[in-house]
Symmetry: C2
C-alpha cells in the first residue's frame, strides 16, 4: 500500500492552483472560543471534490488524458470530474444510478459530460466496461493516491494561513478528504490535532477505528442520514491513512446537523449542505470531546436542494 506523502500533496497544490479556489479561513466571532471556517462550499462545483478530481486527471499522461475519463457517482464527485474534464477539453462519462434526481443529471450534463443511467447495482460494472471499451481512465471518488493528494491541498492552505492551528475538524465519508488533509497538516503543523466527523447514522468509521479494522455498515443504514455526502465508507487505502492521521472522531446527531445548517446561514452567511455542516456541528455541540485552542472546521460543500434549505431555515 502506497501512503500519500507531503510531497504528493505539494505537487497536487501546483496542479490545482488556478482551478480550485484557495478558500479563506473565516473567523467566527459569534462562537465561543476560537473558531475559523474553511468554506469549500465556495469551490466552482460547490465542494472540495474538485481538488482531488482535478489532481487525478492532471497527473495522467497526456495520452491517457486525451482518451477521457469515467466516474460512477451521483454526487459532488460526478460534477467535479465533469467540470475538470471540461477544463482540460477531454471526454467524461459519468455513470449514475437511474434513480438520480433530474436536477443532478442536468447539472452533470451541463459540464459537457455524457451521463449514462443504469440500475444502481450495475454502476461499477458499467464504468469498468466503459473504461476498457473506450480506453477511459476511471477517476474514483476517494480510493486513489492522487485523489487523496488533491484533497490534501486544503490542509496545506490551512497550514499556510494559520500556522499555529491547534485543532482541525474534517468530515469523513469515504475518507479521502480526511486522509489528505490529515497528511498535509501532520507534516506542516507538528502538534496539531485532526479530528474526523461523522453523522451518528453513518458512524461506520468511528466503529472501525475503535475496532482497529474496517467494519462495514449496510448501505440502507448509511442512507438514513440527512448528510447525503457522508454515506460512503473508507477503502483499505483511506482507512489505513485515517488510522495514522486522525487523533479522534466525533459523532454528530441529525438534529445538530440541521441546526448547524441554519446557524451557518444566519451567523456565517454561508449556504451549506448537511454534510458541510457536520464539522462545524462537532465544534458547536461537542466542545467537551475536543482539545480546543485555535480550531478550523472545514465546510465540505454547499450543494443543498432549495426546498431543504428553506425547510431548515424556516
Amino acid at each position: 500500500m502506497r501512503f500519500v506523502t507531503i510531497t504528493d500533496i505539494e505537487a497536487a497544490a501546483e496542479r490545482v492552483n488556478g482551478t480550485a479556489v484557495h478558500t479563506p479561513l473565516l473567523r467566527q466571532h459569534w462562537a465561543e472560543g476560537q473558531l475559523w471556517l474553511k468554506p469549500e462550499s465556495l469551490q466552482p462545483i460547490g465542494a472540495f471534490k474538485i481538488r482531488g478530481a482535478y489532481n487525478a486527471i492532471a497527473a495522467l499522461s497526456e495520452a491517457e488524458r486525451a482518451r477521457g475519463v469515467v466516474a460512477h457517482s451521483s454526487g459532488n464527485h460526478a460534477q467535479a470530474v465533469a467540470y475538470c474534464a471540461q477544463t482540460f477539453g477531454i471526454p467524461a462519462v459519468i455513470v449514475v444510478p437511474d434513480v438520480t434526481p433530474r436536477v443532478k443529471v442536468a447539472a452533470t450534463r451541463g459540464w459537457g459530460a455524457e451521463v449514462i443511467e443504469v440500475p444502481i447495482a450495475d454502476r461499477e460494472v458499467v464504468a469498468d466496461r466503459l473504461a476498457r471499451e473506450r480506453g477511459l481512465t476511471l477517476i474514483p471518488p476517494f480510493d486513489h493516491p492522487e485523489v487523496i493528494a488533491g484533497q490534501g491541498t486544503a490542509g496545506l492552505e490551512i497550514a499556510a494561513d494559520l500556522p499555529g492551528v491547534d485543532t482541525v475538524l474534517v468530515p469523513v465519508s469515504g475518507g479521502g478528504f480526511a486522509s489528505g488533509v490529515g497528511v498535509a497538516l501532520k507534516a506542516r503543523c507538528p502538534g496539531v490535532k485532526v479530528y474526523g466527523v461523522e453523522p451518528e447514522l453513518a458512524a461506520d468509521t468511528a466503529e472501525s477505528l475503535r475496532a482497529g479494522r474496517r467494519v462495514e455498515w449496510p448501505t440502507a443504514d448509511l442512507a438514513r442520514t440527512i448528510a447525503d455526502g457522508q454515506r460512503a465508507q473508507p477503502s483499505e487505502l483511506t482507512f489505513a491513512h485515517l488510522q495514522r492521521v486522525l487523533d479522534g472522531i466525533i459523532t454528530v446527531t441529525e438534529d445538530e446537523i440541521r441546526r448547524t445548517v441554519r446557524t451557518l446561514a444566519h451567523r456565517s452567511r454561508l449556504v451549506v449542505e448537511p454534510s458541510g455542516a457536520t464539522a462545524p456541528a462537532a465544534y458547536l455541540h461537542h466542545a467537551d470531546e475536543l482539545p480546543g485552542g485555535r480550531t478550523v472546521a472545514i465546510v465540505s460543500g454547499g450543494n443543498i436542494d432549495p426546498e431543504l434549505l428553506s425547510e431548515l431555515l424556516g
Copy 2:
C-alpha cells in the same frame, strides 16, 4: 479637496492585512458570460465596512486612538467601528437612532461598544458633542479620505487576483466604497470599466451624475428601497471621486434585488443582504447596459434578517 491616491490605498492595504479577509474571486459558471463575485459578506462583521473603519482608526496617532472613537450609524459601519475598536483595545461609542432594532443594538454592544440611543435627528449633534467632551475621534461612514482608502483595498485585491478584469460592478450609497475601489482599479488596471449600482428607489447618484452636481433626494424617498445599506447619499468628497472614476451607473429594480438574493443563495451558496445583491443584479438583469468581458460584481454585505431571508428564499 484631497483626492485619495493609489499610494493611500496601498498604505491602507498594509494596515488592514490580518484584520480584513482577502476575499476570493468566485467564478460563477451558471451565469452567462464571465462573472466573478467578490463576497465581502464573508468579512468578520459581514460587510466591506471593516476595511475603511479599520484603516481610519489605524491611521490615527497613538494618542488620538487611545482616547477612543465615536460613530453615528445603525448599520454595518457601526459594527465595523465597534469591531475595529475592540481589536485595538480602545473605547468606542456608537450613537444610534432610538428606533434601531434591538438585534442591531445588541450586536454592536457585543463588540464592546457603548451604544447611545437618541432621536434620529439628533445623531450627528450628539456624536459631535461626545467627540468634543470625551476627546473621541469621529469615524464617518464614507466622508473621509482614510475611510475611502480603506474601502479601496477591495479594488487592489481584484487587480491582484484578476489583472485582466474588464468590468467591475460596485454598489453606491454614500459612495466611499465605489470611490476607493474605483481609484484602485483605475490605477492598477488601465482600460477597466467601473460601474456603480443603485436601487431605482435610491438612484440619487445616477441623477446627480447626469446633472453634473449633487442632487439630494428626500430621506423618506431613499427609505423605500429594500436595500437598506444604500439609503445614504454621497458627500462632496465622494461625489467628486465618483465623477472621476465611474464609467457609468446601473439602476436595478426592487424585484431584481429580491430575485438576486435568492439566486445567490441557490447558485452561489452565499447569504447576502439586499444591498449586497445589487451589483450581481446589475450583471444578471442589465447586461445590455454593460461592456461585458471579464466582470467582477462585488457582494458588499450579508447582514440580512433571518425572517427576510426565509421570505426571499420561500
